[in-house]
């Protein structure tokens, strides 16, 4: 029986696809449905070669202007033939970005992806705890409808950046924290939140707390059962910076936010029954290679509320959006866990919160009822629960000195690279393969790099995709 989640903390960042952020983790854990390095898209210029994924995503500048990610553009991105339902080939990202930036070379940047070296914090947490490679945005559209789904398993019919009607009328999971449940919730914001326009929550403004209080609340045992954290969506013009990772805001600041939350939670008296879930609202128009699934309303759920269809697109909310990163962090999760048993989506948060904290209440929509839940993810129990706190590296600024230092032949190995080697060794052993030595004997960055290269060759030779 898994450990009961008593504190759930959800951080939802902005506009990055799974492959863009974590696809190259497949290099260290072949069980992850990530990138082999040969995935490609049609070029913007028909006479040019196909555009292949690359491992050179930068902190900023790759995605300026902001890639399109409204409904019609997502359709074009996932299907180069314009048929997103029949057989989406995920090969239209470059061409769609070209319609935005009008520069064929720059449009190819939509295929750029991070590596564990350039995205060390999220990668380390995904490696040291659990990564879900089948978590999809709820709507093949933009930020607001997806952020509404994570609270209400519906966007109140909105497919657009509507910040008025949908956010106001939406019924959310927060309404279920009524007097019949012993549990409570809080929403930490850095100033703005679409939830501030919700007709229920605007009458419960005491549930909103400043993010500045989060570290204090976490370390002093003041977090309620369910905590939702909003990042800073914009620079405040006074030295406070956006950390949502929305293109083209720097990714490293979001990495720093993740690290800060992680360390705060590890200091909490509740840490051993806490699950920290890092999510992204949607893919932001950036490449991913996995076609989004189609949902079918189970006839048994036919009587439940239906997310209203939205004119004029006549979209019935049965198609999910593009895959996004989802990382589960808890001392009750063993390293190298990969969650891919079902197709998760943002409604899974609503369904899980209800199951954990408001079990007597009614579901909001059939999307919630059919969304897989993740209450069983804390598989370690009793004495097996981990006591370690992972030493997270510094965020990497594009082209910055941190990687250079690690790349020097005699430089000591970073914690991250050692963790990667440990993860690789574990992975090979789990598959019955002999690792190229014991990573614990390695001390320099060059040794670790050599070890990882050999390990990948062993993996490939054994038939595993590297």
């Amino acid at each position: 029986m898994p450990t009961q989640i008593q504190r759930l903390v959800v951080l939802m960042l902005e506009n990055r696809s799974f492959d863009h952020m974590l696809g190259f983790l497949k290099q260290t854990n072949p069980n992850i449905n990530g990138l082999t390095g040969v995935e490609w898209n049609y070029p913007a210029d028909e006479l040019a070669p196909n555009v292949v994924v690359s491992n050179d995503a930068g902190d900023v500048q790759d995605l300026d202007p902001d890639p399109n990610h409204e409904f019609i553009h997502v359709t074009n991105q996932i299907s180069s033939t314009g048929d997103p339902v029949g057989n989406p080939d995920m090969k239209g990202f470059v061409r769609d970005y070209f319609t935005d930036c009008h520069d064929a070379t720059h449009a190819a940047g939509i295929m750029k992806c991070f590596t564990p070296a350039t995205l060390p914090i999220l990668s380390t947490l995904a490696t040291q705890y659990a990564v879900c490679d089948r978590w999809f945005a709820s709507v093949p559209g933009s930020t607001i409808p997806n952020r509404l789904f994570v609270h209400g398993a519906s966007s109140a019919g909105s497919l657009t950046q509507d910040v008025v009607v949908g956010p106001f009328t939406l019924h959310t999971i927060f309404e279920s924290f009524d007097a019949t449940t012993p549990h409570d919730f809080a929403i930490y914001t850095s100033g703005s939140s679409v939830l501030l326009a919700n007709r229920y929550l605007v009458q419960h403004l005491d549930k909103f707390r400043s993010y500045a209080q989060f570290v204090f609340d976490a370390t002093h045992g003041n977090l309620p059962a369910y905590t939702f954290i909003e990042p800073a969506y914009d620079d405040d013009g006074n030295g406070g910076f956006a950390n949502s990772q929305h293109p083209d805001f720097p990714v490293d600041r979001g990495e720093a936010l993740i690290r800060e939350i992680y360390y705060a939670l590890t200091k909490s008296p509740d840490w051993k029954s806490t699950l920290f879930l890092i999510l992204y609202d949607e893919h932001g128009g950036i490449f991913d290679h996995v076609p989004p699934p189609i949902l079918t309303c189970d006839p048994a759920n036919a009587g439940l509320p239906v997310p209203p269809a939205t004119p004029p697109d006549v979209f019935d909310f049965t198609r999910l959006g593009v895959r996004v990163p989802a990382v589960f962090v808890s001392p009750c999760i063993p390293p190298n866990t990969v969650i891919n048993d079902q197709n998760y989506e943002h409604s899974s948060v609503v369904a899980t919160v209800r199951k954990l904290f408001c079990p007597g209440s009614q579901p909001l929509t059939w999307r919630e009822v059919q969304a897989p839940t993740f209450e069983n993810v804390l598989t370690l129990t009793g004495s097996a629960i981990r006591n370690d706190v992972v030493n997270l590296p510094n965020p990497v600024v594009s082209g910055g000195v941190d990687i250079n230092a690690a790349a020097a032949p005699t430089a000591p190995a970073t914690d991250l690279s050692v963790l990667m080697a440990a993860a690789m060794q574990y992975s090979l052993q789990q598959r019955g393969l002999a690792p190229p030595g014991n990573y614990q004997t390695l001390t320099t960055a060059a040794q670790i790099a050599n070890y990882l290269q050999q390990a990948q060759q062993i993996s490939k030779a054994a038939g595993g995709a590297s």
Binding site: Q6, T36, G37, V38, V52, N55, D56, G58, D59, V60, D62, T118, T143, I144, Q161, D162, V163, V165, D178, A179, T180, T181, P182, D184, S192, S193, V194, L196, A197, V202, Q203, D206, K207, R209, S210, A212, Q213, V215, A218, H220, G221, D235, G237, G239, G240, F241, N243, P250, D252, A264, K267, P269, D270, N394, S398, G399, G400, V401, I403, A407
Partner: protein
């Protein structure tokens, strides 16, 4: 203002705040403005948020109403000083990954050393007052993202520059503006000025820059330089200042020199939390029912100003200004579950508590309904104590122009509240002292006390001249900012019902 109208105002402001997420909102819904409420609201939202040009509204100095206008703004994202690594693209069809090429640390070009935010706005109000402002903020990109260990032992993010590691960063702020104000009240100078109100018009044109450097998250130093020209256009009203006063009774009345104004300031703003660390696991219902949860924000500043009059040395002066704003949010954190069935005797106390703790729709007829939940935060109010002190220093034969003297009473020209039972700008003098205490209670109720006076010299700010008042009202706060107040104040001049607003920020 009724509860429903307060709710509406809160919603409007909430929508404005939440619109930060909605970058794509455009005017495309406006042609269908009258066709359905959805498009109406979308269009309105676009009108007030569309980049780079959108409509705005803002408070004007008291007596000049609320202004509407337009803002043109351009904000650049703050980015770190390094360019992305050189592109490493895979050959099509190969699976071999090359490590990212990070061996070349790019030296930033001069033009990329600063991040800039710019804004131009023009607003006008119904009485003919208007203002046009241009602002530019430059932030250096020399800061690197870093972290430090805070007092909770947690690595928190900060921005590193040399030995400094702060949340905020150094900024250079440039501003040039012209404002034309049709009505400013004047009652004479001194703590015993009569109640007869005179008015004057005031035009201000200024250009300024200031530099602020955070030393720590709670401490910053600031310095600035401003060139300011004020004109007092003549008026023909019988109650105009020019018709009723002289240079002797209103220094600076006949000629307004250009001033060079410089200042240095030290500002502190520590955030302190007071709440014991407890382990209130669901199965661990021990200890008292509540633990304290206090949030203290202690904003204080000390400034020294030099005003040098270009053509009239007799108008030069210096000022020492002390400001303090000590805010305490009073709350507790619940440590026990209390269900309806647990309450023996009167429920009144628990009903009051439940309201302060965010009543979740308790059905008092259901024994198992939760009245209080563990870790529920209960808010009882907010105590805000403010003080503002100005001490001016002039040379022999010099005096501070009346239009640059601080005022006490109602709101001053910067919309700073003081004696709320008195009219705006009621008392004026080269030296001033104002103290206030506001206690905000649940349901937005407000109880306050004000005291203040002015004088020709700091030593003259005696208790004998101190004016006092007290009052009741309610306010609307959003995200910790008081955006509007309505209150009744009682002072020596009687009761004054007032609706005050505080839209000092442009939306």
């Amino acid at each position: 203002m009724t509860m429903s109208s307060r709710l509406r105002l809160s919603l409007v402001l909430a929508i404005l705040l939440s619109s930060a997420l909605a970058r794509a909102q455009t005017f495309h819904t406006c042609p269908a403005f009258f066709q359905n409420p959805h498009d109406t609201l979308d269009c309105l939202e676009a009108i007030f948020s569309e980049d780079p040009l959108h409509a705005t509204f803002s408070g004007m100095p008291p007596g000049n109403g609320i202004a509407v206008g337009a803002v043109l703004e351009q904000n650049t994202h703050y980015v770190s000083p390094f360019a992305p690594p050189t592109t490493t693209r895979l050959a099509p069809g190969t699976a071999e990954l090359q490590p990212p090429n990070t061996s070349t640390s790019t030296v930033p070009a001069l033009g990329s050393l600063w991040s800039a935010d710019g804004r131009i706005s023009a607003i006008g109000s119904a009485n003919g007052s208007w203002a046009a402002t241009g602002m530019l903020t430059l932030m250096p990109r020399g800061y690197k993202p870093s972290h430090r260990v805070d007092r909770n032992g947690v690595q928190v993010q900060c921005n590193k520059l040399a030995f400094l590691c702060t949340g905020k960063i150094f900024g250079l702020h440039f501003e040039s503006a012209h404002r034309s104000l049709e009505t400013i009240s004047f009652y004479g100078i001194g703590p015993k000025s009569p109640t007869i109100k005179y008015t004057y018009r005031q035009n201000d044109t200024y250009g300024s820059f200031r530099a602020s450097l955070p030393i720590a998250d709670w401490l910053a130093v600031e310095s600035g330089l401003e060139v300011r020209q004020t004109d007092l256009p003549p008026t023909t009203n019988s109650n105009s200042v020019s018709a009723n006063f002289t240079v002797a009774t209103a220094p600076g009345l006949t000629a307004q020199p250009t001033f060079t104004h410089s200042y240095v300031a030290l500002r502190t703003a520590p955030l302190l939390y007071v709440s014991p660390k407890t382990d209130d696991r669901d199965e661990n219902h021990t200890g008292p029912l509540m633990k304290p949860y206090l949030l203290l924000t202690l904003r204080n500043s000390a400034e020294y100003h030099w005003y040098a009059a270009h053509s009239d040395p007799a108008s030069s002066f210096q000022q020492f200004v002390l400001d303090s704003d000590e805010n305490i949010q009073i709350a507790t954190m619940t440590r026990h579950y209390v269900q309806v069935q647990d309450i023996k005797g009167s429920r009144l106390w628990y009903k009051m508590l439940a309201r302060d703790c965010g009543d979740t729709g308790i059905d008092w007829s259901k024994p198992l309904d939760y009245v209080l939940k563990v870790r529920q935060r209960c808010n009882y109010g907010n105590l805000d104590i403010r003080a503002h002190m100005v001490a001016s220093r002039t040379g022999p034969g010099s005096s501070v122009p009346f239009y640059l003297q601080p005022t006490v009473g109602g709101s001053d020209i910067d919309s700073r509240l003081s004696l709320r039972a008195y009219p705006d700008y009621r008392f004026r003098g080269p030296d001033a002292l104002a103290v206030q205490a506001d206690l905000s209670l649940p349901l937005d109720l407000l109880v306050f006390y004000d005291a203040g006076t002015v004088g020709p010299a700091f030593s003259s700010l005696s208790f004998g001249h101190l004016r006092q008042d007290a009052g009741l009202g309610f306010g609307i706060s959003l995200q910790g900012n008081l955006v509007a107040q309505a209150y009744m104040a009682w002072g020596s001049s009687g009761a004054v019902p007032t609706f005050g607003y505080n839209f000092s920020k442009l939306f």
